[in-house]
């Protein structure tokens, strides 16, 4: 998608990414800030917020590159923040961060526009890499998310936000998602499938697009939200 994307999880682009941390648990925010503070050359925390209203205000005011967004958030969840901010600040990227293991929450947040999902047990350096990749326009799929995505496209997760007629994944996209679910890094996926990392990123991005942006599904969701279906 974007030329600034780093080639792999360890290679940074050298830019300093600005971040807002949104989570309703003060202790967790403190922990994340402390971990990010260990990488002052790569990430700068501009601010934090504890619920949807605060988050919308903070993001609009501070205009960070990346918003670390809890899936469960008072005021309607992380998805609500994206709904309210998304159109106003199209250049802001959202990275979902959750302790929830529920596929419907995670997939729902991705469908609402998040560019990736990581669990709260992620290590500091991995989180910094994820922020960097999301800011660069790439999608970040953890193995768990890749598993959820495969399940959702196979129709075996019953998720309110996932329609039955999701665009199918191509064989290659499926292959890429399976390797990510098996714990492969992008570089290893590329090596395994004899394709370039750029191609892996393209596949991953198109999976994300199929998941969130098809206009038909936008319409379905709009109608769904209003109980018209």
């Amino acid at each position: 998608m974007s030329a600034t994307t780093g080639p792999g999880p360890t290679a940074g682009s050298g830019l300093r990414r600005s971040v807002v941390v949104v989570d309703d648990h003060a202790m967790f925010r403190t922990g994340v800030k402390a971990e990010l503070a260990a990488h002052p050359t790569r990430v700068e925390v501009l601010g934090e917020a504890a619920d949807v209203d605060q988050a919308v205000a903070a993001v609009v005011r501070l205009r960070p590159e990346v918003v670390l967004l809890d899936v469960h958030l008072p005021g309607g969840g992380g998805a609500e923040v994206m709904r309210r901010v998304g159109a106003r600040l199209p250049q802001t990227r959202f990275l979902a961060l959750s302790v929830s293991d529920a596929a419907e929450d995670v997939i729902g947040t991705i469908r609402a526009g998040a560019r990736g999902y990581v669990t709260k047990t992620i290590t500091g350096p991995e989180l910094v890499d994820a922020i960097d990749r999301v800011a660069g326009g790439d999608a970040v799929f953890s193995p768990r998310l890749a598993g959820f995505v495969l399940d959702a496209f196979a129709g075996s997760i019953e998720v309110a936000q996932v329609d039955e007629d999701l665009d199918r994944l191509t064989e290659r996209e499926r292959e890429v998602m399976r390797l990510i679910a098996r714990g492969y890094a992008y570089k290893e996926v590329a090596g395994e499938l004899f394709i370039s990392i750029k191609t892996v990123e393209t596949h991953v991005s198109s999976v994300l697009r199929k998941l969130q942006l098809s206009s038909r599904h936008e319409l379905t969701r709009w109608a769904n939200d209003r109980r018209l279906l």
């Binding site: 958030l73 929830s100 596929a103 729902g108 609402a112 075996s156 209003r226």
Partner: protein, 440 residues
Amino acid sequence: MSTDAPAPPTGQPAAPRPRPPRAFRSTDERLLGGVAAGLARHLDVDKTYVRAAFLISSALGGFGVVVYAALWLVLPTDTHLEQRSPGLEAATRQGKRPGRGRRLEDVGLLVALAAVGIGVVVLAQTVFGGSVVFWPVLLGVIGLAVLWRQADEAQRERWVDSTGRIDFVRAVVGAGGTAAWVRLVAGVGLLLSALVLFALQTGQSGQVGVARDVVVAGVLGVAGLALMVGPWLFRLTGDLSEERAARVRSQERADMAAHLHDSVLQTLALIQKHAGDAKTVATLARAQERDLRSWLYGEEPAPDTSVASALKAAAAEVEDGHGVPVEVVTVGDTPVSERLRPLVLAAREAMVNAAKHSGADQVDVYAEAGPDATEVFVRDRGRGFDESIVPDDRLGVRNSIVDRMRRHGGTAVIRTAPGDGTEVRLTMTTQRTSSQEETG
């Protein structure tokens, strides 16, 4: 949709006991009363077809309207039976998850009601040709509809009453306050005026017989009363058993919450005692996290029934035994059959090997249950090994993994190289090939 996958998907909580199949009105996907959506779920067909069937039968003589109304009257709503994991329920209650938009909900319902109403008027006028009975009947029907709707809402609100008493006024009016009373009075008023209008019109139009009018009015009155009280009586029986089930469930929840509370506190106490020992602390925290996570969001079936949960249980054992985190990602699920048990055991052995010998700080397990085959990948980023120089007395890999899979008609492929980690790939096809069948 894989039609031949016999197991419930992983995302759905397994019901504790099989309930007799019973239809409910759907509150999630309703257009009007949720009858069509609930019926579609009960019959396992697409709800569009059911709605189409209702529409068509409504157009052909109004039969669909009658059936729909009858089912609306009879079927209980499904809200009481919706059971999700406690973590999700708590997050929903606190408004931390995206809810459905509610702003247009009422408008949508009104539009639907109005559309049906217009349809009924058109239908009735074509059938009765604008006769004398038409408008009184219409008024009566509207009155009854208002009453029905009132009873419907009252049913939902009645359970808010924590005193546990169910009195008639509350059952009909609910907790709706003035608006509910206004609707109730309006409904009764409409009903009465329908009767009066009917009596007046028949009186004007001809002296057919006062006796008949009285009979008709009486029948209408009784029917109206039955329709007012009927839904309440009928639902009361259904709701009482549901309430009992709900109480049992909430007690189970309370016990479970207390248990987890204790276990979390215990773990935290242990962690404080072992504050100096990073490895013990990590193991304790990890075990507790797994425990809590599976309770809050998982609702796993028992380990001996499903491949996904059997793998997760095995991973948990390995994690506790060797202090190495094992991440399990599963796609699809299938019951543990005699055929798949060796696969689970081989996967467990591969996890043990990875945790014990690889020196990796994490083991990734990925399992995919498809219609044709079930595959498990166990991967570490440890030191790896050279298969050719493993001494013959080390039976772990050869015996427990490769030979076991081969004996039972599956395959095991080990990819490893010194310094590059190890990946064990286990495949068991669904089709049993009789030539390879062996019981050893």
